[in-house]
């Protein structure tokens, strides 16, 4: 076997091994079972979307993967190791960007926070910050405070700070939930192009079913009380996705119907 073939095989094997795995993960908080016996594997490079009615534990599942919670029983692992604390290669984009940014630091300063935490030397930070701002479509806004920016810009800034961590995995908790439809579509495409190019693994929590199908390689629907998997759909839509063509694709419509029926059934 040639070296190249062996390398390809090794890469394929690595791809098969899950990056993040929930093994019968259960979480109880304050006497309530939030998540019960969750089994879920996230493959490296995968874009996984989690949907579900409110209170189904989708944000909790994300926080388990982030290491912000530890499971009461079962395990959540990253590359086979139990996740006990947040790790630098896993970045979290919170929904409430207004609270997740430092109001006393400018856009550049907020990105710098992540670079400082990774001990990037001060003289290298400037260029890195500029590149990151350009990457998320905020060039020329380095000296603005978050409060001087629109919601969409603030969320871009938070994404830039997460990218400054150089994560292999991006956990996104309803990141566009508070944004208007146009801004949301723009950011969906940007997140896709940012993560697909770098083969970043993404777990994306949303309550918007169309968004989940549009973005994901796979969509998981959770059942509430306690949270567990109710439906799992592979999204076999061509990439790159397109806001018009993808959303008109018969497969898109079929998945959408299936997912809507599932959510409707859980609401009873």
């Amino acid at each position: 076997m040639s070296v190249v073939a062996r390398l390809i095989e090794a890469r394929a094997a690595r791809r098969q091994k899950p990056l993040i795995a929930f093994n019968a993960a259960t979480l109880r908080l304050g006497g309530k079972t939030i998540i019960e016996n969750l089994d879920l594997q996230v493959r490296p490079g995968e874009f996984l979307c989690i949907v579900g009615a409110s209170g189904c534990g989708k944000t909790t599942a994300l926080r388990l993967a982030a290491g912000l919670y530890r499971p009461t029983s079962g395990a959540v692992t990253f590359e086979g190791e139990p996740i006990t604390e947040p790790r630098r290669e896993v970045a979290i984009v919170f929904q409430d960007y207004g609270k997740a940014l430092l109001p006393w630091r400018t856009a550049a300063g907020n990105i710098s926070l992540a670079l400082e935490a990774s001990r990037v030397p001060a003289r290298e930070r400037g260029a890195r910050i500029e590149a990151l701002l350009r990457k998320v479509g905020l060039p020329g806004h380095a000296d603005k405070y978050p409060t001087e920016m629109s919601g969409g810009m603030q969320q871009r800034l938070q994404i830039a700070r997460c990218l400054a961590q150089e994560p292999t995995t991006l956990l996104m908790d309803e990141p566009f939930g508070a944004l208007d439809a146009m801004t949301r579509q723009g950011l969906q495409d940007e997140v896709l192009s940012l993560t697909q190019a770098s083969e970043t693994t993404v777990i994306f929590v949303t309550h918007d079913l169309d968004e989940a199908i549009y973005l994901g390689d796979r969509v998981i629907g959770l059942l509430p009380h306690p949270g567990r998997i109710g439906i799992e759909l592979d999204v076999d839509l061509p990439r790159p996705r397109d806001q018009l063509a993808t959303r008109e694709h018969p497969e898109f419509l079929r998945l959408r119907r299936q997912l809507f029926d599932f959510i409707k059934a859980t609401e009873h």
Binding site: E85, A117, S118
Partner: protein, 255 residues
């Protein structure tokens, strides 16, 4: 808008000017005996004389020193203790009742205790001023540290920031508006207590000057001292406000 601001400024100067004019009038008409009430002209002359003869400047420096040392000591201790208590829910629960007992205690009540323990010394003055001035700073710091957005702590955790970095880069800047407001309040307390200590313990300062002038019926000197104390309070407060504006420039951006 800008013109309105200028007009307000002019009006406030006019009000101050008419106060001084009224004071001059009352003095000139001898509605109050000149032994007790000098006119602004005599008070001003006493002020100039006090500075040119040299001892008023010394008294002013004495008061400023008492005030500054006490205020700095209160700031350092208040911010340190406030951060310690404010950043831990358990500490807040344990310490809060004791604080609620100590806080409303009139500081003047502890002066005899301080004199008994430390004598009529600079150390006594420092202790009393710091003890009085610490409360606004410490309570504001506790509040500021307790009110840090929890989401920011999660951001810090996900960035794996050290405890020291979290305090320096997240908690302290977040609490800074509260801390500075507390420091501005306690500045006034420090000035009041400086004067009280100087009067009670005979320490060198404007309080002592005012007391001696009153006893000797040198009303012009007395008023010169009072005017100087007012100016001290006013100018130090402005100085702190300027520092505050600089440090909190990001808040102006939010408006």
């Amino acid at each position: 808008m800008k013109r309105a601001a200028i007009l307000w400024r002019v009006a406030s100067v006019l009000v101050a000017g008419s106060f001084i004019a009224a004071w001059q009038l009352v003095a000139d008409l001898r509605l109050v005996s000149p032994v007790f009430l000098p006119g602004p002209d005599r008070a001003w002359a006493a002020l100039v004389r006090g500075f040119s003869s040299g001892d008023l400047a010394g008294k002013l420096i004495g008061t400023l020193e008492h005030m500054a040392y006490g205020w700095f000591a209160a700031s350092i201790a208040g911010i340190g203790l406030g951060a310690l208590i404010g950043s831990s829910k358990m500490m807040r629960a344990y310490v809060a009742p004791s604080l609620e007992f100590l806080r409303p205690l009139p500081v003047s009540a502890i002066i005899p205790v301080a004199i008994a323990m430390l004598g009529l010394t600079q150390g006594m003055a420092l202790f009393v001023i710091a003890f009085g001035a610490i409360w606004p700073i410490m309570l504001a710091t506790i509040h500021g540290f307790a009110a840090v957005e929890p989401r920011l702590y999660e951001v810090a955790r996900s960035l794996q920031m050290s405890r020291a970095a979290i305090i320096a880069k997240i908690a302290l800047p977040s609490a800074l508006p509260d801390i500075l407001a507390g420091m501005r309040l306690s500045l006034t307390v420090a000035l009041i207590l400086s004067v009280v200590c100087e009067i009670l313990a005979g320490l060198d300062g404007l309080g002592h000057w005012v007391l001696l002038s009153a006893r000797a019926f040198r009303s012009a000197d007395l008023f010169a001292g009072v005017i100087l104390l007012g100016a001290t309070g006013y100018l130090t407060s402005i100085a702190v406000s300027l520092v505050e504006q600089r440090l909190l420039a990001w808040q102006a951006a939010a408006r």
